[in-house]
Symmetry: C2
Subunit: 240 residues, 2 copies
DNA sequence: CGACACCTTGAAGAGGTTCAAGAAATGTGG
DNA sequence: CCACATTTCTTGAACCTCTTCAAGGTGTCG
């Protein structure tokens, strides 16, 4: 076990409403505290888990930022998602008892380790947790549907617009600005996620700056015209 | 309730091993029989559920073939998957208590209707079912990762090759030929799934025929060179 | 301060799309 | 059961978006 591991409790975690079911009795809340075995710190660039690794636990992100990516033997590489505080990571491992992607910290991070057998055990008794686990998995499925729509039917500008809107929306839910954000990932990682080359991502950023839609200074992005981005994502005139 | 509904039992269904957990006691099997409320027949072209519809049940496909697709108001349309006998459909609905995509029968079909509250109830008591439900959802997440890899990093030929290999592999698991298949979907639907235009799908089929990789007669496809397709999907030389 | 990773921009090229026309298959109604 | 309408599929040619290759700029961290 990681030496930096720390004993903790969900019941007084300020992210509870993001990663845990709401409206539990005190009794149920106590049961949930058995859920998190330990916390674990991950340094920027390190992996939380890797492809092929035995699956034991789901992880709730307390702080930090992750990417999950699929790297095949033959050199293909696909970022399948970016995860931030309050989100659950590791669901891919359940089906085959081993992880099928890598989770890499894009900044120093801390996660709550939730052994999956314990999750199953407690969710047999706490209906709200059972339901919550199902919802989390379903949400991930629906999110991926959205990514498929993006990858399958959008052009570069639309993809980047959708990506940025999704990011700020999630950051906003965590109390951050609706219009300003700091990207934790490189252009290449954005490109991999969006099915574009890094040059295309860079060029598209530049185009948005020219248009007056964005202000971009390296990884600092300020959205000047949210509706413009929204129009790009929604306007049928841009569809093909 | 659908008038064509028929009372039935999982315990003597020949698809059980495809959609249900294995190695259950007789007692647990009896509990599972409470799971399927009714069966329902869907005619080709009809929907099993549609976007926005209230979510109540998961569906196990007994016979027939479905596509799930996301149609946005602004005219985008994305096929998110094709499902065949033994597969579970409807997971997208759990998170918001309403379906977020359409499930359309591509041929006359019959499904087992499994009310989700009953699934949750029984899986609290039958651990194997609980675990099975988790695995099914995780499998769908992993499948979608694969689609993201396909959409994000493959070119047209590679996408079609991966698509065909995946189809025959699943058909083979159901006792069909490893090398011959009848497509239940149009070129346009394949294209939507693969992020390509129907013309590109058609041209790519033609190219495979010229290469001697496939024999194609409308929707009848015979794979002459499985390894050739595999090489296309795996060979790093084709990556970009 | 120098090395390295990351980002930007240009120019040429490739892969896929669009538009268009026609052929083949499928379904429908008389 | 056949004729007609409709859907589906194929193929060509022009075009466009994104990629590739290349070079230089910017930022960051030991």
């Amino acid at each position: 076990m990681n030496p930096q591991a720390i004993k903790v409790a969900c019941s007084n975690c300020n992210l509870r409403e993001l990663c845990m079911p709401m409206g539990l009795s005190d009794q149920d809340l106590n049961r949930l505290d058995e859920l998190v075995a330990v916390r674990r710190r991950i340094k920027r660039g390190d992996t939380l888990f890797t492809n092929g690794e035995k699956f034991t636990s789901l992880y709730a992100i307390r702080t930090g930022f992750f990417k999950t990516c699929l790297a095949t033997e033959d050199g293909r590489d696909q970022v399948t998602g970016f995860q931030m505080a309050g989100e659950i990571i590791g669901l891919d491992g359940i089906v085959n008892d081993q992880h099928s992607c890598d989770a890499v910290a894009l900044e120093d991070a801390e996660v709550c380790v939730m052994p999956f057998d314990r999750i199953e055990e407690i969710s047999r008794e706490v209906t709200a947790l059972q339901h919550h686990v199902h919802k989390i998995m379903s949400r991930e499925i629906v999110r991926e549907h959205g990514v498929m729509l993006l990858l399958g039917s959008m052009r570069a500008e639309e993809r980047l617009a959708a990506f940025l809107l999704n990011l700020v929306q999630r950051l906003n839910a965590r109390g951050f600005s609706q219009s300003e954000l700091v990207l934790r990932m490189t252009r290449e990682e954005i490109g991999s996620y969006l099915g574009l080359k890094l040059e295309t991502v860079s060029r598209t950023f530049s185009k948005f700056v020219e248009d007056g839609t964005l202000e971009v200074k390296q990884r600092h992005v300020r959205i000047l015209d949210t509706e413009g981005l929204q129009r790009l994502v929604n306007n049928p005139a841009h569809c093909h």
